[in-house]
Amino acid sequence: MDFPILSSLILLPLIGALFLFFTKSRNDNKITVKYVVLFTSLVNFFLSIYLWFLFDQTTSEFQFVEDRIWIEGLINYKVGVDGISILFIILTTFITPLCIISVNNSINDRLNEFLIAILIMETFMIGVFCSLDLVVFYLFFEAGLIPMFLIIGIWGGSRRVYSAFKFFLFTLLGSVLMLVAIISIYWITGTTDVVKLYEIGVDTKYQNLLWLAFFSSFAVKTPMWPVHTWLPDAHVEAPTAGSVLLAAILLKMAGYGFIRFSLGLFPTASEVFTPLIYSLSVIAIIFTSLIALMQEDMKKLIAYSSVAHMGFVTLGIFTIQQQGIEGSIIQMISHGLVSAALFLCVGVVYDRMHSRLINTYGGIVTIVPKYSVLFMIFTLAALGLPGTSGFVGEFLILMAAFKDNFLVAVLASLGVIIGAAYMLWLYKRVIFGKLINSDLKKMIDLNKSEIFILSCLAIPTLYFGFYPDPLINTIEVSISDLIDNYNFKIVSKP
């Protein structure tokens, strides 16, 4: 590789943030500042698209690998992408500029700092998906806590302090055990390089404990039942852009981690703990869907639906079948688009009415028709209507689950039905019905930038719903190789 494209992806937002740091925050240059940030993140987006263009879909080898000595004899700074990670990188670079556009009205206070936090966040998130060294991965994984803590705490709602602390401490508590596991792996195998670890494997007798340590971190981040409680709080209190980042990308780190590390490094243990994941996923799907039904706060409802959707993801990953894992990745991408859009939709009405309660609204279909249409698309995508990307993912996951375990699949399908119920009911209560609250009449329909953001999210949602091939082609080889590798290690275990 001549041009370090992945490092540029990681560093670009940081450079943008640095530039912003040295720009004085004044009212008259707010627009300039925003354009600089937007420009940075767009360059990053096009760079990642270019990466996808260069990406060789026929091999499962890591590509664009950069390997530099970082701490002599201990850690190498190693980054690279394969079919599994590249989509997440593109998702990150795609969502970030939309987030930046969306801060138009909602953030007035300390805009500079907010944009810096978002850019730094982007750096860390891309870093997580690129890193091919456990320590580097951990570094990026944990570092993301700092900007997110500040985003929730400084620009959040009324209970922001509680939520920010809960978010930070939950995640940190989960992660420290992963650090123990990473260092243990270093002493057991002598390396933290993921590629080398794939080759030599980790001794079976350590796998269970190591798997659990990684699980403790990923389960909190996913979030899986019963450690999901930080998510609704964090979502509700975070500013819209923060919720979007959290739902669309942060949650995907854990799903990615499960595929890359839990399956890749500890196949025997994954086999052992599959029932655990299955039960937790099914509980998450049904239990949180039921909770979502009862929510009165729109953001909270979507937050709980996120937990349910991530339940599908973990279920799919641990079916350890081609379709299941493909479905999970597509589900994650789709959830990234859809939940981002839904949070933005809530943000839109919140900016106008300053209420997130469902019963504030009702009957606004004639007042804000454009909004109603776009909201409709995302509602349907969230419940997995055929023709939207949500369908593809859920369908593949359920298909794989049926092959593996009938009962689990039936229960999970039940979750789909409840999912349809709460989403449609939400839509009905907000958009249709009688117009009771007369303040709503003054509501303005979507402005240009909002239409732009939401259609940017709607187009891929529909496109990949009808034609998921570009996604599947990208991930196919990597996943089949992962599964072959997995089965080989299971069979050949001593």
């Binding site: 002599e72 570094l139 803590f149 705490g153 940190l172 243990s184």
Partner: protein, 472 residues
């Protein structure tokens, strides 16, 4: 004496102290000159140490009672530089309390001399001599603001408890001397009969004395009161400089004569370490005064440094030293922030005084934010790497319990660091503080923040510097 140049640093610093004393007596209003001269002396001593002794592999002097090796030279340089920065940022604070006197730099120099002797000691008597020299200077420093009740109380408390611990330490020394017939570390290493329980008693007494000096739980009781009562610049000195010397003695004492008795002292260290980490983290939660809070935080940081020693491996020793160096830098940054919190010559030190700092002082609060996250051990800041090295060496020895407890303690500790950040960033602002700070203070804050922030770019330098320390 052929190798006399190896003790030039000590000789130079003692002569300078005498010269400064005479100068102070005969020249009126000389505190400023003496302050500047002391800074110069510390730097020159560091340079001499660097030139003369850093390349020395291992030489013993004065009938083998003083040892010069890479460990001692390295730690001396760290001590000198840390003392230099402390002295550099003190004057404005001292002036505000009208205690900018000639004795202050001289006392700091004498305690540094004591520490250098401690660091080089290869003999129980030399070690004790150095310890007492530094302690006596520290007692006076604690009471330096002698008209204030709290400062006098701090000094008295420190004196009484420290004298007690010195007594225990001396008792341990005498036990060891009684059963081995020597006070020399090398001789003891060859002499003792591992079955003698009395030697274990001796080790325990000495460990208690040392644990007191670095304020490890359960010998920490003096620390919060003394830290709170002493003038802030002295507190800074307390939190960092004596710990370097005490840690070195810890290393030398445990690893040279008593490495074979590792089963005896390992459990003690593991206990000290776990107790300090947990207690420091939990007790800090309820604090309202920043100096008290940092006292508890320093207790828990000492716990991590001890965890490295508890491994009994060379890696562990190196990781402790890395830890303590990064800790020093973080503390320097923290106290620089504390010393900037003044309004009309009144210094503020309650946590609530930080409220809304980010509005009026964005740069100051950003630095403090970075320092606090680093103290909490969040990557990619330097504090994370410090903990990473420690846990790497701890897990290498399969001490998983220690590692897991330590990491859980970091989560608890994260809470109170986050609380400060919350108050700075999420709460309403108060009146702004003065912005005319001395150059030294600005330098020390910028310098420490940048090191903490950018450490991850060049993590190998510090590891390389420390990797020459081979005590075993």
């Amino acid at each position: 004496m052929s190798n006399i140049e190896l003790v030039f640093p000590e000789i130079f610093i003692s002569l300078s102290i005498m010269f400064l004393l005479i100068l102070g007596v005969f020249k009126k209003n000389s505190s400023k000159i003496i302050q500047n001269l002391s800074l110069l002396i510390l730097l020159i001593t560091a340079v001499i140490t660097f030139n003369e002794t850093l390349s020395v592999k291992q030489i013993t002097l004065f009938n083998e009672s003083v040892i010069i090796d890479y460990l001692s030279s390295f730690m001396k340089i760290v001590t000198l530089l840390a003392a230099f920065v402390v002295l550099l940022i003190s004057p404005n604070y001292l002036r505000a309390f009208k205690i900018f006197k000639i004795e202050y730099p001289i006392l700091i120099l004498s305690s540094v001399l004591g520490m250098m002797i401690m660091i080089s000691s290869n003999d129980l008597i030399v070690f004790y001599m150095g310890l007492e020299l530094q302690s006596l200077a520290l007692y006076v420093l604690a009471t330096f603001d002698r008209d204030k009740l709290k400062s006098s109380e701090a000094g008295l408390k420190y004196f009484v408890l420290s004298a007690l611990s010195s007594g225990l330490l001396l008792y341990g020394c005498s036990l060891i001397y009684g059963f081995t017939g020597s006070t020399n570390f090398d001789v003891i290493a060859n002499q003792f009969n591992a079955n003698e329980y009395a030697i274990t008693f001796g080790i325990v007494f000495i460990l208690v004395g040392l644990a007191f000096k670095i304020s490890a739980v359960p010998f920490h009781m003096w620390a919060p009161d003394v830290y709170e009562g002493s003038p802030t610049s002295v507190t800074l000195f307390f939190t960092i400089v004596p710990k370097i010397a005490a840690l070195t003695v810890f290393i030398r004492f445990l690893f040279v004569p008593f490495l074979n008795l590792i089963e005896q002292w390992q459990m003690i260290l593991v206990f000290l370490s776990i107790a300090s980490m947990l207690f420091g983290a939990i007790a800090a939660i309820g604090q309202k005064n920043l100096k008290r809070l940092i006292a508890y935080s320093s207790i828990s940081h000492v716990g991590y440094a001890l965890a490295g020693l508890a491994t009994g491996s060379n890696d562990g020793v190196q990781s402790s030293i890395i830890y303590i160096i990064i800790y020093i830098i973080m503390n320097l940054g923290f106290f620089s922030c504390l010393l900037m919190m003044k309004r009309n010559n009144v210094y503020y030190e309650q946590i609530d005084d930080l409220s809304g700092l980010s509005k009026n002082h964005p740069m100051l609060s950003l630095s403090l934010l970075i320092i606090l996250f680093s103290l909490a051990g969040i990557p990619p800041l330097a504090g994370f790497f410090a903990k990473f090295y420690i846990f790497k060496s701890v897990i290498e020895q399969s001490m998983y319990f220690l590692a897991i407890v330590g990491l859980l303690a970091t989560v608890v500790a994260a809470f109170y660091y986050l609380r400060i950040i919350k108050i700075m960033y999420f709460d309403k602002e108060k009146e702004s503080y003065d912005k005319d700070h001395s150059l030294g203070l600005k330098f020390s804050l910028t310098f420490s923040t940048l090191i903490i922030l950018l450490y991850f770019i060049f993590p190998s330098q510090l590891v390389d510097a420390v990797s020459n320390i081979n005590i075993i």
